[in-house]
């Protein structure tokens, strides 16, 4: 704990006193009594939740509602109830683990369609979830962004389900188009697989922005583009090498080797506690272009390059502001 960290640490929100061991025991006792009395599991859980401190009780109650099938999700599978349940975990990652500092959150439009374009690293979309947390916590009108996820994640069990519940969709231009037409906030990572798979020594050097497909989407729907720089995400899984044979075996774009993965097995998926900064830059309006602008390759590339340049500059600036990577 250095003095510098104390200065830069985000303002902590007041939180509950640590749950006492006693409450957990009392929870288990009530649960067992309930089950012995012949109650169904959901009802027994719900009744014994009273023994837990407030936050824990809320989570248990939400989980119970879901066990009974009483929850709503939209046509994309985005499920606000699930987001509420994992919020404490993400909140922990946001406040303590990565000590995220967000800047310029107010530049994100509070309603209507918009396209967030960010740099990307790491095989799991932690950067997308932290962007979502920044918007949920610090935006005056919190809104949850939908994000496009590299499609092979949807072949994996569990990953596909939870990504979808958190607002992720298959990275397909059709999905992005439909979401924007529904006036959603959509986050894209145009570096794609090249970004997730880059070597640790290339961190924060933005890769090519594909063919500028995201610009076409923005032009077609008239959505403003908000460049976003995420600093910190590129240290959580420092990729030192890869094993192409294993990647081919499981059909993944690459199989990373990091200081902890695959040596520690599933524990290797625990991200390193780097320090994060997220900056939302000034939006670039696209509504003013004529209808035929989508087919103007030169314009598309120019805009794409402008966004890339903005993100890259913001990444450098935030790297300087952040100082050391981990403390």
């Amino acid at each position: 704990m250095s003095a510098q960290q104390a200065r830069t640490a985000p303002p902590r929100r007041p939180h509950d006193p640590p749950p006492r061991v006693g409450s957990a025991i009392s929870f288990m006792r009530r649960l067992r009594e309930g089950l012995d009395a012949g109650l169904e599991l959901p009802e027994a859980l719900g009744r014994s939740a009273a023994a837990l401190p407030r936050e824990g009780a809320d989570v248990v109650r939400l989980a119970v509602k879901r066990l009974e099938g009483d929850y709503t999700d939209d046509e994309w599978g985005y499920d606000e109830g699930f987001v509420d349940i994992v919020e404490p975990l993400f909140g922990f990652l946001y406040d303590r683990w990565w000590r995220v500092q967000a800047e310029g959150v107010r530049r994100v439009p509070s309603h209507g369609r918009a396209l967030l374009v960010a740099n990307h690293a790491g095989i799991l979309p932690w950067d997308a979830t932290m962007m979502a947390m920044a918007l949920l916590r610090e935006h005056p009108l919190p809104r949850h962004p939908r994000f496009l996820v590299l499609d092979w994640a949807f072949e994996l069990p569990w990953a596909s389900t939870s990504i979808r519940r958190l607002g992720g969709v298959v990275a397909s231009p059709y999905n992005a188009l439909r979401l924007l037409e529904q006036d959603e906030l959509v986050a894209v990572f145009p570096e794609g697989a090249k970004g997730t798979g880059k070597h640790f020594r290339d961190r924060y050097r933005l890769q090519r922005f594909g063919r500028g497909g995201f610009v076409e989407l923005a032009l077609r729907t008239g959505a403003p583009i908000v460049p976003v720089a995420v600093v910190g995400s590129e240290e959580i899984y420092p990729k030192l090498g890869e094993i192409p044979a294993l990647a081919r075996l499981i059909g993944a774009p690459f199989f990373p080797v990091t200081p902890t993965f695959p040596w520690l097995g599933p524990l290797g998926a625990v991200p390193l506690p780097s320090k994060w900064r997220i900056e939302f830059c000034d939006p670039i309006e696209t509504a003013g272009y004529p209808p035929g602008a989508v087919d103007d390759r030169a314009l598309v590339f120019e805009l794409s390059e402008r966004v890339r340049e903005t993100v890259q500059q913001a990444v450098y600036a935030n790297l300087v502001k952040r100082g050391s990577a981990f403390v």
Binding site: G77, S160, V170
Partner: protein, 328 residues
């Protein structure tokens, strides 16, 4: 002005019979003819029933004298079972469609063809867009037998309509149907003692309520459009939630165990799950219904979620509704 003359193939199926009954009550329809080897389960008053097998070339002699102007091709079998082997199912679907088109070559009075096809042509893919629009049939390879059959049928009708520019041919792509009257793969699945699912997968499923399916077919007869149109109840529902709504216990199976367990269950007399359906249980599928709403002018009255709730409620006896015919 003389009324319309309509031929319905597969009139013995639930949807075929209901459509015939509805057209019978329509004063603008002069003749309703039904082709099938099975007899309809509901009483039809003035439908002229033709008992013939659609695979048999004899239909080329039976259809032209009817002088129909509209053909509703409803005899596409979606699931194995019910006395049809996979081979026979392929024959009914592909050879049957070919025989029908051969017969129509000799029936110059035809102006409109409505095919009740399947959204199965899109497949079920992990990388698929959440909602297929009509032009997305070529995004992925055709994987299953049924998918290839549907693609072949669509191809025949496309070729036919290219050669006959005066005939309007509508290809309706139906999502799996659900409802108290239908016996579909999905209703059979949800009636199993336990519903096998892929461990770790919760795909987005989309269905069409039988009443919306019937109304969409009737709407297409009234206002045919050229080309393909998706038919579905809007929205999607997670498979896990659908099973919960149907009050069935889910049976999560790890990927490699799924095939052996379900085929053992089939040998024990349970409903078989086709290859398409297994992929659907893993990856799900949704379609976009904009064209149905804007061009055919039909807006489904159920969402997918409401359709599942309705079906489960009727089965459990908690929802009571007059039958679709009385309501229409």
């Amino acid at each position: 002005m003389p009324g319309r003359r309509v031929l319905i193939t597969g009139v013995g199926s639930h949807l075929g019979a209901e459509l015939a009954a509805r057209l019978e009550r329509d004063a603008g329809v002069e003749l309703v003819a039904g082709l099938d080897t099975r007899s309809p389960r509901i009483g039809l008053e003035r439908t002229q029933l033709i008992e013939a097998d659609i695979r048999n070339p004899v239909i080329a002699r039976l259809i032209p004298p009817l002088e129909v102007d509209t053909v509703v091709h409803n005899q596409i079998v979606r699931q194995p079972g019910g006395g049809l082997s996979p081979q026979a199912m392929h024959d009914v679907n592909v050879i049957g469609s070919l025989q029908l088109l051969a017969a129509l070559e000799k029936a110059p009075s035809v102006r409109t063809i409505i095919v009740r096809g399947s959204a199965g042509i899109y497949g079920a893919e992990p990388h698929a867009p959440q909602f297929f629009t009509e032009e997305m049939t070529r995004l992925f390879p055709l994987r299953s037998r049924f998918q290839r059959d549907v693609a072949e049928i669509e191809n025949y009708f496309e070729t036919y309509s290219r050669r006959h520019p005066d005939v309007v041919c509508t290809m309706l792509r139906y999502q799996p149907a659900i409802g108290p009257g239908v016996d579909s793969q999905i209703t059979r699945y949800l009636s199993l003692p336990a519903c096998p699912t892929y461990l770790g997968f919760d795909p987005r499923i989309q269905v069409v309520h039988e009443r919306d399916g019937l109304d969409a077919l009737a709407a297409a007869v009234a206002r045919p459009v050229r080309g393909a149109v998706n038919v579905a109840s809007p929205g999607t529902i997670g498979l896990g939630r659908m099973i919960r709504v149907a009050r069935r216990p889910p049976l999560p199976l790890a990927g490699p165990a799924f095939g052996p367990v379900t085929s053992a269950a089939r040998r024990a007399g349970m409903a078989p799950l086709s290859e398409d359906f297994r992929r659907l249980l893993r990856y799900g599928r949704g379609v976009d219904t904009t064209r149905l709403v804007r061009e055919v002018g039909f807006t489904p009255s159920f969402s997918t979620e409401a359709a599942v709730h309705d079906w489960a409620g009727i089965r459990a006896g908690t929802v009571v509704r007059p039958p679709a015919r009385a309501a229409a």
